[in-house]
Every structure is written in structure tokens, then in C-alpha cells.
Symmetry: C2
Subunit: 227 residues, 2 copies
């Protein structure tokens, strides 16, 4: 096995939760590529591949080392053009960047305001200290203040998916009949919430829930096994 994905985990190595790492796990399955996953605590990331990146995912593929989920997906489509495409061409790459921007600016902040303490609870002692310090610096307030309006965020959460809902009402995936990397970008956000908080806070018959369930079914239900 020459392919290694460095990803993230908390105290329980069996429950990986990082949205960005989930995107790449889905992308590797999409391409039909074998890989070994090495799950690291936050504070162990600098030890991976001689500290090539401050964040995971990092993919080693033979002699290539690539960090950042989007770059990894772009690398996979370039390096393995004969396997199913993750983007469907150059226009698809540009537009997947828009889906990423939407996920990072609309969904991720909302998920943080719901699940920040849930994420923290999954970490080992050393990571807990690192996570609190880095996140309180990023948000400019205590973690408890970030989630102070959790119930309101949960109530407002389904509406944030209106663009996704609009599309998956009409077609099975954002990519059309089949998923593309754009699907895995949004999937990663919801899988993060599902693993950390135990729910995606969406009605069972919501088209977004039905789409998410379709994603969980992909690749022999691989992503569903993590709960």
C-alpha cells in the first residue's frame, strides 16, 4: 500500500469527524483508490510528513505529498483521469470552489455555534487545551459563548441549506445523477455535525436529509459506520 491519508480524530480513533478529511475519504472511494488512513490528534499533526502542513488532510501518494482537501481532490482528478471524475472538467472545478465558499462561510460557522462543545468533548486532554485556546482566539470569545444561542442556531439550521435543498429536490446529487466533489464538500459538513453532535437537526423527510442518506449509502455505507 503506497497511499496514506493523514486525517483527524479525537480520543476515540474510531470516530473521525473532520469535515475536510471526510471530503477526501469520500473522494478516494469515488476514485476507487485504496488507501491507509492514519488518524491523528490535533497536536500530533506537526509530526506527520515532517510537518509539511499545519492541518490535515494530508495525502501521500507514492512520492507525492499533497495537503488541503480541495487540492487533494484536484490532484486526484489530474493523477487518475481514467477513474470517475470528481469535477467534470474545469468549469466544475471553478464552481466547486463556490460550493466550498458557501460551506465554509454559511454552514461551518453555524455548525460551530451548535457543536463546538461537542467537538471539544471528543478530544483527549492535550488536544482539549489546544482546541480551546485556538478556537477562543479565532472566535474572539469563550467556547461557551460561541454556543450560547445553540437552540436558536438549531432552529435556523435547515434554512441555511435552502440552495442545496432547491437542487436535490430536482436531482439525486448536486453533481446531477451521480455525486461530484461538490457533494462531498457539503456531506463533510453534515457528517462532522452527525459524528460530533449525534444529529443533523433536519426533518427526516427533508430533501437534504434524503440526499445525506444517499451519501451515507455510497461505497457500501462506509461513512455510515462512523457514528
Amino acid at each position: 500500500m503506497t497511499r496514506t491519508l493523514y486525517s483527524l480524530c479525537g480520543e476515540d480513533i474510531a470516530r473521525p469527524f473532520s469535515p475536510h478529511c471526510w471530503k477526501v475519504v469520500m473522494a478516494l472511494h469515488h476514485k476507487g483508490l485504496d488507501f491507509e488512513e492514519r488518524r491523528l490528534a490535533f497536536t500530533a499533526i506537526p509530526s506527520a510528513e515532517n510537518g509539511v502542513s499545519k492541518t490535515v488532510p494530508i495525502l501521500r501518494d507514492g512520492s507525492e505529498v499533497v495537503a488541503d482537501s480541495f487540492r487533494i481532490a484536484a490532484y486526484l482528478d489530474e493523477a487518475y483521469p481514467e477513474a470517475p471524475t470528481l469535477f467534470g472538467g474545469e468549469g466544475g472545478v471553478a464552481m466547486a470552489r463556490f460550493v466550498e465558499a458557501y460551506s465554509n462561510t454559511v454552514l461551518h460557522p453555524a455548525i460551530a455555534r451548535i457543536a463546538l462543545l461537542d467537538i471539544h468533548a471528543l478530544l483527549g486532554p492535550e488536544d482539549k487545551a489546544y482546541f480551546r485556546e485556538s478556537r477562543e482566539k479565532r472566535f474572539g470569545k469563550t467556547m461557551e459563548d460561541v454556543v450560547a444561542r445553540r437552540e436558536e442556531e438549531i432552529a435556523a439550521f435547515p434554512a441555511r441549506f435552502e440552495p442545496v435543498r432547491h437542487l436535490v429536490k430536482q436531482q439525486p446529487y448536486l453533481g446531477g445523477e451521480n455525486p461530484l466533489f461538490a457533494d462531498y464538500i457539503i456531506f463533510g459538513a453534515l457528517q462532522w455535525l452527525r459524528v460530533c453532535a449525534g444529529s443533523i437537526f433536519m426533518a427526516k423527510d427533508d430533501p437534504v436529509t434524503l440526499w445525506f442518506e444517499r451519501c451515507l449509502d455510497l461505497y457500501n455505507g462506509m461513512a455510515r459506520e462512523t457514528a
Copy 2:
């Protein structure tokens, strides 16, 4: 001239404002295709091309008649593959659908809550009656109630563009170095607001404003001439 675009106007034929028609005007320029524009009042649309569509844009191209802005763009890319692409491949089509969903579900409702009465003011008497009735039915309230919190909507408006901002901070257009149909989708929404309300309610140095100005400069500043 064999190409005719049926579009929308108010009482002043020189001030077309429809977001969906603007998307197609930009797309036709992007493809470098000549066309004659026939601007119609809302209540004149059923007379175009024997009532083929209840809405404009409608494009007649030789013997082909296509309605709906997205279908027209897809048709243009298929019919004129040698001209610059509007989507950059199949993945780009799927992803532009997401940008459309975002525009329709996030931007258009916000613009209606700001500019519904401004749009109404641009219409001739017959259209005014049609517009009030159809919009009050759609929104389930009077037009005056729709815009009752106009000032709050204006204050919240720039934040709704956060995914666009995130991207155009890093690259000139949503499409990358050059615009794609996805750019014209968002452009159409802001041009609609600009023509109807006289402002896009965005700071001058906002990356979204700078991107919008770049779009206004395209094709010899053609879209800027409408104000």
C-alpha cells in the same frame, strides 16, 4: 439577423431590469453572438412566439426557440461549441445549477424585500395591476408588507454575498480568470437591483462591488449603459 431575444421592460423600454434576461444578454455577448432584443411588458409576454412560454427570456435562433435562462445558456454552449464556453464542461453545468439555486433562494428573496415597490414603480399601468396581483399572491401579503423591513434587509444584504465574496477575493471571477455563466447568474441579480433601486447597497471597496464593476466593464461596458 436571425437571432431574437425576447426580454422584459417596464414603461421605459431603455431600462431592462429582469435578472434572468440580463443573464442571457451577458451570455450572448460572452459567446460573441449578434442578436436583436425585443423588450416586452409583462402583459405582452403571451404574445411572443405564440405564447411558447409564460416568462421571458425566450430566444429564437433560426428555427430553434428556447425559453428559460439556464436552458438558453446550455443551448448556446451546445449549439456554438467553438465560441468561449459558458460552463467549462458538464461538471460546470451541474455546479452552475447550485449558483442558480443560491441566487434564487438567498439573493432574489432579499432583493424582493428591498426593491419590490421600486420594480412596481417602473411598470406601465396595465403591468402594475398584473404585478401587484401576482406578487401579492406569491408572497401571501401586500407589496407594502413585503418591503416593510426594507432598511433591515439593506443592512443584512452584504452578508448574504459571503460565499461570492470569499471567492472573488481570491480570483477575478467565480469562473476563475474569466467569467462563466455562474458569474452572469449573480450579476443578473445585482443588475436587477441596480436598475430598479439605483444602488447595490454594498460598500465601494467590497470585493463583491469590485467584481460587479468588472462585470459592468465587460463587452465594452454594455451593461453599464442601462442605469
